[in-house]
Every structure is written in structure tokens, then in C-alpha cells.
């Protein structure tokens, strides 16, 4: 019997993971926030009393080198320095690491090693297919370096997903030595009752294992789900400071703290610090307005199961093909493709793979053209699916991709690749000779060369400047800061005229 069942009069302490430095801006501002806009909040974040501070992994690595000319390893080391009292947390896509393919085990080991060395404490490890074999090597690597290995259940809804299934998966994660279990609701699909049922069943089955619950807020129900998860025994919940919350983001940190007042639960959060963090990001957020999602609440996700990010992705694909009017057809196609693929959760990269195939099916006919990734998914190269896949589509995939279906762990088919990666990276101008650079090349071979070449130029923020913010606020017509050139026709004669403020 756990202490909480005896001392009912003592409120149980709930931990909070602050997300603003990673998933907060990833979900709200397309991961575009520059390090310079985060450093000012770190002292207060560090002192606020969070269970952990998520600040790395997910899409941040990609964004650092693709958009911001920042070295992601430098970013991690900076966070380590600025957050000396905090557990740093990252999101790791199991055998995919932070890339979009499976890596051979040695690459996984080296990545985890270097991340721990640079200061990472808590590794939240997940797999888009919920295939435990895709997590086990990364989990073992984390254990080996003595860090916190958090095994993740990706929550989704389908005819084959049940509370019992999630409990079984939790058991498999615990068998790997998971120090805690994360229930990850990346699409805001987790309603209060299943939140309660899953957490309760995991606790009832495995005793007092630590459970962390991660919800997005898009459907407007998940603040309640966090409450019910806590009532069922959850130990830590994720939140993002209010000025970087809601919509496709997360529930507000302050609101999570406040909702517990007077209940049998409490937090040790220093709200004065949180308000400083809030005020910091309140000023920063408008600088990234152009990257901001417009969605605030959308419960239609419950029907379509299409996360917001995936939807906007599909819409831009359709627009590019001049088929913007076919969104509804694609939305109806997604559940079909997902069923054929054995009901994978929709999360990076499965969401993109299923979404793109749905677009192809609508534009070119059902499975007339299969993407390489979707064929791979059908053939088992992303791992086992929650339910059996459609045999007819498997056959088509084999035919189009000229590959055989597999049932082994996908990474078992990979030959050692580290030496080759070192060799390739070494040939790139700007490569600095570190394992970190080899990993950057391994994860993003298309982007790394340009990044290495231009790294010396230093971080390049994509935020609006002070002057641009001011100009935007003042309106445009009267905010000419430099000359604008017009073709002006006067009495039938054309002139090139340059206009600027007098």
C-alpha cells in the first residue's frame, strides 16, 4: 500500500514538467524560437520548482540547424548552464532518434551518450507505432549512462486500442527498466474518463510506478483529463506557461497549479517565478506571430483523429497541387489509410506518412502511387502495427516498392553505419571533427552540409525585429522605413518612381 492511501489528510504532491522551452513553442510557433529569446526566462524557470524542464529534442534539433543556424548541442549546453537546479528533459523518437528513419544501434548509443554528457537528465522515449522493440535499445542506452529512462505510451483512439492494451504496453516498458511511464496525448484526444482509467489501471497493475501525463489542449477537454489523471494517481503532469499555452499547445502551468487548490493534491511551484516566466514570453510571442497557428479549440479532431499540425501540412500539400478544395475528401481518406496500416497512432512521423498517402490517394486514385514511406510502413519497416494491416495493400506495397514484408525489429536489418557516417561527415566543409557533428549529419544529411558551412556566422533569428514589430503596430502605409519603387503612369507616360519618408 502506498503512503498516499494511508495519509489521506496530507495533500499529495504533484510534479509539473514545464514545456515552454520545447513543445510549447514547437506547437504554437512552429519550433522557431531562437535561444536568445529563451535565456532571459531560465533563471526563473530554474527556481520555480518544476519536476523537470523540457527543453530539447522533438523538432528543436531540426529547427536549430534548418532555420536558426544554431548548433543544437550548444543550445543544450547553454540550458545546462542556465538551469543548474533543474532536471532537463528531452523527447526522443526511439530508434529514429530525432530523425525520420531508423538508425543502427551504435548510432543510438552514441546519441544518448553525447546527450547525457551535454547535460540531459530525463529521456522521454517513444515510438510512433507503439512498437516496444523500437524503444528498447534507446531505453537501454539511457539506463547505461545512468539517466532517467521514461517509457512512453502514445495515446490514440481506434477500434483496437483499449485500456488493457495500454496497460500491457506499460508493462513492456517497465520490463525495459523504465524509471517512469509517460502517457503522451499528442493530439488532445485523451478525454477525462480514459485518462482516469488508464492511469488507474497501470497503477493497480504495477504498483506505484511514476506516471507522467502529457496532453495538448486543442480539443479543450484535457485540463479536465489532467485532473482525472491526478485523481487516478498520476505523479507528474505537463504544462506550458500561460503566455505560451492553449490552442495546439498545452494547458497553462498557472491554471494547473491553481486548479489543485483545496483538493487532496498540491504542487511546490513558486508562482511568483512563474509569473516572471509568463511576462517574459508574453513579450516574446508576438515576434513570432507569422508562425502562429490560428486554431484555438477544435473538437472535430475526435472524429477525424487528425492532429492540427497534420491537417495544415495536408492542406499546404493540396494547395501546392491546386487542389485546395479537396480537403474534405482527404480528411475522409485519412481514417481509411490509417485502418489499412493497422491503426498506428498519428504522431511524427506516422502522421506525415499517413497524411501524405491520403493526399496521394485522393489526387491519383487509391494506392495508385504509394510513397516510399507508406509502402515501408505497410511492409513493417517502421515496426509492428497495433492491428493487422490490410493484406491487399501490403501486396501493392511490395509490388510498388519491390521489397518484401518484414516482421523483425526494423533496426535488426541495418548494417553498422557509424564509420561510414564519420567518413561522410568528415568530407563536409565546416565539419568540426566532433561526434556531435557526425550525429547532426546522421540525423539530417540534407541540411547538415549547409549548416556546417554557415555555422560560423552564428545564430540567425527568424523573429521580427524591434523595428518590424513597431512598423507592424503602426500600420504599413505610414511605416515606410526605406524607399519603395513604383511604376507610375502620368498622362500616359510611364516613370519609375521611388518613394520614401521625407
Amino acid at each position: 500500500m502506498s503512503p498516499r492511501q494511508i495519509e489521506v489528510s496530507e495533500p499529495r504532491e504533484i510534479g509539473i514538467t514545464e514545456l515552454v522551452l520545447r513543445d510549447g513553442h514547437q506547437s504554437l510557433l512552429a519550433t522557431r524560437m531562437a535561444m536568445e529569446d529563451m535565456v532571459g526566462a531560465c533563471a526563473d524557470i530554474d527556481a520555480a520548482g518544476y519536476w523537470s524542464v523540457e527543453c530539447w529534442g522533438g523538432a528543436t534539433y531540426d529547427s536549430c540547424i534548418r532555420f536558426l543556424n544554431e548548433d543544437p548541442w550548444e543550445r543544450l549546453r547553454t540550458f545546462r548552464k542556465l538551469l543548474p537546479n533543474s532536471r532537463l528533459q528531452m523527447l526522443l523518437r526511439g530508434q529514429n532518434l530525432l530523425g525520420y528513419r531508423h538508425y543502427e544501434d551504435e548510432v543510438v548509443d552514441r546519441f544518448v551518450d553525447k546527450s547525457a554528457e551535454a547535460g540531459m537528465d530525463v529521456f522521454r522515449v517513444f515510438d510512433a507505432m507503439n512498437d516496444p522493440r523500437n524503444l528498447e535499445h534507446a531505453m537501454a542506452a539511457v539506463k547505461k549512462v545512468g539517466k532517467h529512462a521514461q517509457g512512453t505510451i502514445c495515446y490514440t483512439i481506434s477500434p483496437v486500442h483499449t485500456v488493457e492494451g495500454y496497460v500491457k504496453l506499460a508493462g513492456e516498458l517497465l520490463d525495459m527498466g523504465a524509471d517512469s511511464i509517460a502517457l503522451k496525448d499528442m493530439a488532445a484526444l485523451l478525454k477525462p474518463q480514459p485518462a482516469y482509467d488508464i492511469v488507474k489501471a497501470v497503477k493497480d497493475t504495477y504498483g506505484d510506478v511514476q506516471i507522467n501525463v502529457h496532453c495538448h489542449s486543442t480539443t479543450g477537454v484535457t485540463q479536465v483529463s489532467l485532473m482525472k489523471a491526478i485523481e487516478a494517481g498520476a505523479d507528474v503532469v505537463d504544462a506550458s506557461v500561460s503566455s505560451m499555452s492553449l490552442g495546439p499547445g498545452h494547458n497553462p502551468t498557472e491554471s494547473v497549479v491553481e486548479m489543485l487548490e483545496g483538493t487532496g493534491y498540491t504542487t511546490k511551484i513558486d508562482m511568483a517565478r512563474v509569473y516572471k516566466v509568463r511576462d517574459h514570453f508574453k513579450k516574446i510571442r508576438p515576434k513570432y506571430a507569422e508562425f502562429e497557428s490560428k486554431t484555438l479549440v477544435d473538437t472535430k479532431i475526435f472524429d477525424s483523429q487528425i492532429p492540427g499540425g497534420m491537417l495544415s501540412n495536408m492542406e499546404s500539400q493540396l494547395r501546392a497541387q491546386g487542389a485546395a478544395d479537396r480537403t474534405d475528401e482527404v480528411m475522409a481518406m485519412v481514417p481509411i489509410c490509417r485502418k489499412d496500416a493497422g491503426y498506428p497512432p498519428l504522431v511524427t512521423p506516422s502522421s506525415q506518412i499517413v497524411g501524405t498517402q491520403a493526399v496521394f490517394n485522393v489526387l491519383m486514385g487509391e494506392y495508385k502511387v504509394m510513397t516510399g514511406e507508406f509502402a515501408d510502413m505497410m511492409l513493417g519497416y517502421y515496426g509492428a502495427s497495433p492491428a493487422p494491416r490490410n493484406p491487399e495493400v501490403i501486396a501493392l506495397a511490395a509490388e510498388q516498392a519491390k521489397k518484401e514484408p518484414i516482421t523483425v525489429r526494423p533496426a535488426d536489418l541495418l548494417a553498422p553505419e557509424w564509420d561510414s557516417l564519420v567518413e561522410q561527415a568528415s568530407a563536409l566543409p565546416g565539419y568540426d571533427g566532433t561526434e556531435e557533428d557526425v550525429l547532426t549529419f546522421a540525423l539530417f544529411p540534407g541540411v547538415a552540409p549547409t549548416f556546417f558551412e554557415h555555422r560560423k556566422e552564428g545564430p540567425k533569428s527568424v523573429a521580427r525585429t524591434e523595428a518590424q514589430m513597431k512598423a507592424a503596430a503602426e500600420g504599413q502605409a505610414n511605416a515606410l522605413s526605406g524607399p519603395i519603387t513604383y511604376n507610375v503612369t502620368v498622362n500616359g507616360a510611364s516613370h519609375t518612381v521611388s518613394v520614401e519618408p521625407a
Copy 2:
């Protein structure tokens, strides 16, 4: 024992009051929505299966005649026609009706009579001081015309506000014949635990009385409060369709419906209809962007107890005095004034009265100049306060206002006034001879004359036009899509100039 305690296997049905036609746009768009922007949603609202549709009262009457040149009684009759299957609901400030002073009982009777005649079904009656004597005549008037009299508890936080106090107030409302009890959380202060405790205690004390719970969403905790209120036995909860929700508004209707799935509670809401309502207001809302509040989440309200609307009001008063930098002092002064006044809830009109006095105290010294309204509040002319008022400030109020403190029901001091109101209204150009016009004059004597005079010109929307929306979307300077022709005079000579992007 109520049926729900026996049949635990059958989900208990929860009703929803849809707020979008009144408090939704009042809270988000400063009550500026024109009737023409609501009619298109009515058929779907009417068929969605709500317990009631709030569509009148509060600030809408004032806004109709002050800003929109709409006759509020016409608006009510139109809603009655367009929502034939719905219970129409209004918010009524007890003896204040929809104005800002106390009215003599006959005026209250006539107002309720005419509202019922025009189609009102459910009267949510409240008093800003929670003084039952200020509600009892209005409640009796509603009972007399055979309509639903909903007695209201205004929820607030103070050292003297307790669950027991709210239960006692509920009992006094039931003694007046209340058909239901509303727990009204106008400032989003109601946390989950007190929501549960109050609803539970009222049910435990008085049996199965219907309880409606109304929360704003500003603090980000009240969706959870609605859940806990439902678990405690609440029967109806208020919500506003998602495209007109959150921030200083309310929890999203769709999210309230969805959060109950799989629990012991259910609704009979037709989501297909709700989505049509959502899509309707998604298009309408941007037309009123200039009136929109910027606040999305603010938990600081828990400390200051200053509702968002009150804060922006105080800030604009300070700006007008060139003292915008003194907001913090005023925010610290509000709790002092509120304590001196005996801890009234802060809601129209008490929020404005306390807020304005706080501004005066900061600018001119503590109680050096008292507003007439604050002096009246100190002297009992708004009713009894929850706690004793500060005797020193009462003495100052008596001195400055040259009035004696009272302990009777304020309206008891009023002489019959209906005949005089008729006489005054009759003298106004444009007065149409109806009791409705007399009531309009009684409620807003300063605005009614202009409205009567211009009523014939018909409704005047303050929304952006289609063209303005388009121009705003395209941006200004660089939104020249075709040549624009100007007449330009240079050094006295006129030229026809055509300009287009180079």
C-alpha cells in the same frame, strides 16, 4: 433519494445553456454583435438540444440602444420567432433590472411582465451584493407571470465567504420560490474544489433542487470546475460555442459535451448542429476584432480578484488622467476599498463602483473624494454587504454625501415612479407610446432620447464591412492589386497619376 442515486448504470443527463447570443459576445466583443450577425445561427441553435439559450439582458439592452440603434424588444421578439423550440434565458440584475440604480417595485413588475410577453422563459436574477432583499421582488414578479425564476448566488472569494454562507443564500432563494439556483462565477474565480463543495452542500441541504453553473474561463481552471460541479450533482452548465469561447468568455460548448463521454454523465446535444453554429460565428467574429479582449489566460485574478473587464475599465480611467503608470497602486487599492465596503462580490455594478473609487483614492488620496456611488454603497443604498463595512469610511461617506446610512431594503425608500416615467418618456421625440419605451427611458434616461429620435433609421452595425475585412486581410501599402488613379497636384499643376506595383 433521487433516481440518480439508484440507477448508477444509466448516465445522468446534463443540460447546457448556450451563451453565445448574450454573454459570449458580451464578454469577448464588448456586447457589440448586431442582430443581423446572429439570425443565421438561430435555426441550428434551436435544434441543438440546449436546456436554454441565453440571448437577452445583461449589457445587451444598453448596447442595443447605445451603439447599434436596435430596439432591444424587437431583438427579443425576433429571437422568440427564430428559436421557437428553445427556452429563452436572460440575466436580470434584481431590483436594478438592466440599469444602474434601484427601481421602484412597479417598474420591476412591468419590466418582467413585458419581457415574459415578448417571449422570455428563464429569468436568471442576481444582485451584486448577494442581498436577497434585492432579488425578492423580481423573483416574485417572474413567479407571478408563470415563468422560470432562477435565483442566483454570485460567487466570490473573501475572508467572510464560506460554503455555509452560499448554502444559506441558496435557502433564501428557494424560500422565494426559486425554480432553480444559479451558481454564477463572473470572474472565473470558482476553482474545482469549491465548485464541488458548494453544489454538493446545496444538494445535500435542500434535496434535488436544480443547480445551473455559470463560469467564465479567464483563469483556465473552470472547465475542471464544471466537471466537479457535475460530479457533485449540478444539472445544467453554461458554455459558449467554441468559435466564441475562452479568454474572458466561457468554456467551449463542444468541449463540455466531449469531456463527458464515457463518464456517468451525458448530454443530448446534436453536435452536427453545434458545428454549424461554430462555423457561423467563426466567420462573424473577425468583423468585431477591434472590440476583442487580448487576454487569453490570467490567473493573477485569484490574487487581485479584479475581473478582466474591471481592469481594462480602470486602466482607461487612469490613462485619461495621464496616470497609466499607477495601475499597480490601483490594483493594490481595490482589495482595500472592497474590504471597507464589506467584501461585496465584484460584478456589475459593484465592480465599477469599487474600481472607480480605487482610482480616486490613488489619484487624490484615500477617500478624499468619494464617488456618489461608492458613498451610497458605504451607506447601504445598494443593500446589505456580506461583512460589516468600515465605520470610519461610513462616517466619511455620510459627511461627503450628506446622507444617512440605511439598513432597510433600498427600494423601500423609493416613491412610486411609473407615472412620472411615462410622463417624461412621452415628452421625447420618437417615443412610440408603448410601455416598452417607458422602460427603455427608465433604464437609460441619458441614451433613450437619442435612440428614440434615430430609431427609424434602423440598425447600425459597428462591425467591419466585407470591404474593410478584405482590405485589412490584404494589408495596405503592398496590397495594390491593380492600378489606382490619383489626381496629383505638383507645384499648382494637376496631373492624372496611375500607380501600380512595379
